[in-house]
């Protein structure tokens, strides 16, 4: 049994709230450079140059990459041999968010759905916990902006709709979203499971490094076809017209009910932010 102190979790969560919002990971920056070179639209190439310059400023001056520093969404893998001392995990994560968003000068974007009154400290966080074997605690933050989240959907397709029905829905969703979610986007697709499972795995799919292959050959091929069809739409960087509408399409799949074909499309902006720690 490994013991992890409540305050250690708070401090680490605080750090990754800030780091995720100030620094893009290498895979994202590399994809900006790759697509800048292949983009045919000059306005589109200029957008990539701005995004690269923005990433430099955010990292060096510790300013949010985007003013929308997001809903603090966490994916946690909690080893069954881990004991947390001095408090519980969810409280520790929320306290880390409170401090990280405060000390990091990040925007507090969480409010009451009706009154729209801001909670003032960007809590509560959304925390997905998986129990796993072992004595590690892995915490991943994926701050999620509202603009791209608003363009996301869950739909319950019919089994007869099949792979082509899934593809059509995803491509149409991107088309209808247009410039709203800040293209070039990353598209997370969750296929199967239940209504909520599809949404959760679609969000989890966004964590995969851009440019990585899907380990499932069939899904890998669907991802490549979807990326081509999405980039054929011509929406382009920021919607000004161009070849790069999406940087990547990532699919996660789960078995589903014999009556159902759940599908979730979780759209992320180009500011594909996530950071993880293992304790």
């Amino acid at each position: 049994m490994k013991t992890i102190d409540f305050n250690v979790i708070v401090e680490k969560v605080k750090d990754i709230c800030m780091a995720a919002n100030f620094e893009l990971s290498r895979d994202v920056l590399d994809s900006f450079k790759k697509y800048r070179d292949s983009e045919e639209s000059s306005a589109g190439r200029e957008i990539f140059d701005q995004l690269l310059a923005n990433a430099e400023i955010a990292k060096n001056e510790k300013i949010g990459l985007c003013q929308d520093t997001g809903f603090a969404v966490f994916f946690v893998e909690l080893g069954d041999d881990v004991k947390i001392e001095g408090g519980n995990l969810i409280d520790a994560i929320n306290e880390g968010v409170r401090r990280g968003y405060g000390e990091g000068y990040l925007r507090k974007s969480i409010c009451h759905p009706f009154t729209r009154k801001n909670t003032g400290d960007n809590t509560p966080a959304i925390v997905h916990v998986d129990l796993v074997p072992g004595d590690n605690l892995k915490i991943t933050i994926a701050p999620k902006g509202g603009g791209s989240e608003n363009m996301s959907r869950v739909v319950m397709l019919k089994p007869s709709d099949g792979i082509e029905g899934i593809k059509e829905y995803v491509v149409n969703r991107v088309k209808e979203s247009g410039a709203n979610p800040c293209p070039p986007i990353v598209v997370g697709v969750g296929i199967g499971g239940t209504f909520e499972k599809a949404a959760t795995i679609a969000k989890k799919a966004l964590l995969r490094p851009i440019g990585s292959e899907n380990p499932d050959p069939e899904l890998n091929e669907i991802e490549k076809d979807l990326l081509k069809r999405i980039n054929d739409l011509g929406i382009g960087p920021q919607g000004f017209g161009g070849r790069t509408t999406a940087l990547a399409v990532h699919i996660e799949m789960h078995p589903c009910h014999i009556a159902s074909l759940p599908l979730a499309v979780n759209i992320n902006c180009h500011s594909s932010r996530h950071k993880e720690i293992i304790l």
């Binding site: 045919e40 639209s41 306005a43 957008i47 701005q50 995004l51 310059a53 923005n54 990433a55 400023i57 955010a58 001056e61 510790k62 300013i63 949010g64 990459l65 985007c66 003013q67 929308d68 520093t69 000068y105 990040l106 925007r107 507090k108 974007s109 729209r116 801001n118 003032g120 509202g146 603009g147 608003n150 247009g178 410039a179 709203n180 979610p181 800040c182 069809r229 054929d232 739409l233 011509g234 929406i235 382009g236 920021q238 919607g239 000004f240 017209g241 161009g242 070849r243 902006c269 180009h270 500011s271």
Partner: protein, 185 residues
């Protein structure tokens, strides 16, 4: 696609020179506002009351910045998605608002109001809030401080780069741009 350096406030003669796709570098004073502030402004208009800020000839930038670090004028300050303001913008345009900066498409009633009363809609680069903050020389809350990130601010900007999406002639860069590069029949 032309490039224009302009100074606020805007007037109809200036706006008639801009075409969708043009790049503008804006210097001068602009106002900010997003969802909650727009709702309050339009509630006042509907009650026949005065607004807390004069919007005639002005630009409203749809933005809710991050808090400024000590010594900085503003935090990260990129555009938010504009369609959420569609329900309110036509009434502000009728009152003399001349420009809006955001990102993403506008509804037909907003595009029609821009054409009828002469106003333009411009896009700043979404997700480049750190870079854009360099063009903002000062920022001061002028109304609705209780709204926090959604308060109305007056910003002094210098060479703030935006692209004209909807001009006074009814053109729309989003529709034209995607059409030009589409490979879908």
């Amino acid at each position: 696609m032309a490039e224009h350096r302009i100074t606020t406030p805007l007037d109809d003669d200036m706006l008639m020179k801009f075409k969708s796709g043009d790049k503008l570098l804006i210097t001068g004073t602009i106002l900010t506002g997003r969802d909650a502030a727009h709702k309050r402004l339009v509630d006042l208009i509907r009650k026949g009351e005065d607004l807390p800020v004069d919007i005639k000839g002005q630009i409203i930038y749809f933005v809710g910045p991050t808090p400024a670090r000590p010594g900085n004028a503003v935090g990260s300050a990129g555009p938010t998605t504009s369609y959420r303001m569609d329900a309110y913008s036509p009434e502000l345009i009728k009152l003399g608002l001349k420009g809006m900066i955001g990102k993403g498409g506008r509804s037909q009633p907003v595009i029609d109001a821009m054409k009828e009363y002469k106003a333009v809609y411009m896009a700043a680069t979404g997700g480049a809030g750190a870079l854009i903050s360099k063009c903002i020389k000062s920022s001061e809350i002028v109304a609705y401080e209780d709204l926090g990130p959604e308060a109305i601010r007056k910003m002094e900007v210098e060479d703030f780069p935006v692209i004209v999406i909807n001009d006074v002639y009814g053109n729309d860069l989003y529709a034209e741009g995607a059409k030009k590069y589409s490979r879908v029949s």
